[in-house]
Assembly symmetry: C2
Homo-oligomer: 150 residues x 2
DNA sequence: TTCCTTTATCTCGAATTCGAGATAATTATA
DNA sequence: TATAATTATCTCGAATTCGAGATAAAGGAA
């Protein structure tokens, strides 16, 4: 068959892993200067762009387990970037809400962050990026579907 | 300019992160059944294909810090997959060496692992994979180069 | 209403990785 | 050769994430 190069798949996996490690490292370097990490930033970004969120929703959006979210939210509360707001309708739910400080920070820093990523990823032009996005999405969806095959 | 879509870069980063997370999760699931994790497997694979390695070399190959390598090697020694062998020429150096058990395991399991990855990544055909590999490499090299720009 | 199931959040302990610094051995320099 | 710099490995403590299980609140069924 034409599609049977097993070694090529392994290579793709290795290349992806290494590239993303380099990319993440650069992005994290940039963000760490602000005293927060990538996960915390992802949570702030979600709240900044989508408004207040139940804690459990945050977890599913940024792909973290419930226990990890509790921890991340704690840290952001300590840093006074967000606060916990009980839901009046359902007492099981707690919303995470940006504080004034958190909002100000994001309004100032998000554009810089986006620009930094843009600079780090400038190895490809827009057309190539769009292409890679499609291909990687395909790969991701397929991998997601490839669950425990009995 | 044509290449100025900042949001596209952010999207590429998010897509890459999520896809790789899915892919890694699947691969790890497969390996965990063997009682080892991805990092440990990477070390075993290096020794299996490249022969005995000084511990510090392993770190640079699998992209782990020196302290992490010590830990991973410890675990593999505990599992009797490898052993530490002092270098006679340079007493600072310790080689990691596959044990009989480790070698047998890899001879049996590596092809299965490779096949599993192949299956997980079968969302793209060979030609597309080769293309993605090149583009991701470009991205990675560029990101690597984009160090602390003063 | 009472009981069972589901949902949301949190606590706890384990796993994994890192960075800083310690130790020991080697190499280069004065 | 004595001293300084480099290299290899390890120890320690911190950071981050997870899974299992606890708790509390809602919702649904009998």
């Amino acid at each position: 068959m034409a599609t049977d190069n097993v070694g090529l798949s392994l290579k793709l996996f290795v290349v992806l892993t290494r590239a993303l490690q380099s990319i993440k490292k650069r992005i994290e370097e940039d963000i760490k200067k602000q005293g927060i990490n990538l996960t915390e930033f992802a949570v702030l970004e979600l709240l900044f762009h989508k408004g207040d969120q139940p804690i459990q929703k945050i977890g599913s959006k940024v792909l973290l387990s419930s226990s990890s979210i509790s921890y991340v939210v704690d840290r952001l509360v300590q840093k006074e970037m967000i606060r916990r707001r009980p839901c009046p309708d359902d007492r099981r739910i707690t919303f995470a809400t940006l504080t004034e400080k958190g909002h100000t920070f994001m309004a100032d820093y998000f554009p810089k962050h986006e620009q930094a990523i843009h600079s780090i990823l400038s190895g490809l032009d827009d057309k190539e990026k769009a292409q890679v996005i499609e291909q990687i999405k395909t790969l991701g969806f397929h991998a997601e579907g490839t669950s425990a095959d009995k």
